[in-house]
Subunit: 209 residues, 2 copies
Amino acid sequence: MTYGDRIPDRAVTRLSLVLRRLEVLCAAGVKRVFSRELAEKVGVTAVQVRRDLMAIGYSGSPNKGYEVCALSQAIKAWLHPGLRPAAALVGLGNLGRALLTYFRDREPHLDLLAAFDIDPGKTCMECVGLAVHHVDELERVCKALNVRVAILTLPPEAAQAVAERLAAVGVHALVNFTHASLRLDPHVFVEDVDLSVALDRAVFFSHKK
Amino acid sequence: MTYGDRIPDRAVTRLSLVLRRLEVLCAAGVKRVFSRELAEKVGVTAVQVRRDLMAIGYSGSPNKGYEVCALSQAIKAWLHPGLRPAAALVGLGNLGRALLTYFRDREPHLDLLAAFDIDPGKTCMECVGLAVHHVDELERVCKALNVRVAILTLPPEAAQAVAERLAAVGVHALVNFTHASLRLDPHVFVEDVDLSVALDRAVFFSHKK
DNA sequence: CTCTGTGAATCTATTCACAGCG
DNA sequence: CGCTGTGAATAGATTCACAGAG
């Protein structure tokens, strides 16, 4: 097993994409699939797919491709070993509320258990089944639920402070939708998602292409 | 001017981030800034910032750094030459509605002029000032407004068809929030934003770090 | 000195090209 | 054959190391 090896950062992204396709194929009852088919579904090359599978130590069979459900399980086990982590979302503005329902509908590989806001009155219909707390409760609730991943959709001014508090109670990874660039202990992983950059890139390349 | 030169793809992302910081500094009346300061605000190295500025043909002065507002203008002119493009958003689900207000509040480098849905009754309070049309009106409205950039937040099954229709009426760039991987003429730029991948990455690295 | 600008080296990621299997 | 698996080559991006300017 090449389990603890270093892997290209972007391979993680591709494996996540491949995994989602496989889950669909597996549910649809498809038995086998070729690297080329996966590749074009995901928008990369077939060699890339094979290399990524090589990196996680998975083998298919020549002329028959990969067994869909088994591969799906293997990638899932590699990307997300251990238990599904508990997750929380902080900041129930427009974006936070939308992401809450968005993620819940898409069955992510985590359990979204709690949400926080300075104004917990922002609870909405779609949030049913999910506890909404005041930010003051952050430490208590996160500890109790053993929250490991947090999604930040709060105003940028408040982001650094909240991030530090989350890190202090054992959150290992943040998905940062804020325009703040967070400075934290290096053992805390930060995935920055900058929607404005996505627009800027689109505008830029709309001129270039 | 190294205007038409090829630039590292990721440099575009960094320039967008740097630009936003500069706009803030300029508005705050700061006169000069060093590459190192910009770098740490954005989370990259100082050399990277200088290299990116080199790539767009901009020079600072040794020992004095860069003039904030001038540099801001230069990056903006380079990233977004020509007029601000007209943009449209298709799909007014939870995410679409949230992004509409999110972007409007953040003054992107484009004019968000129209939104479409199969059910235009989904118009909401926050959408005030923005025309909401039935998807059937797509071609007519996009042509009339000269829409160049489109944001896709509709169900994945409908994405490919709508993308083709947009491309056919002259849309040059798409920001695709859909899980569909779009296949279009190569002159149409597609910026994929996959929020589920962001979560997967966070879960993965929460185990690793 | 301290900062910018940049050739050269390094590191990382992708593609090529082909061996080997069924 | 057509596919997987992979060493070797290539391309791409980042960092190093230092020249030059004020």
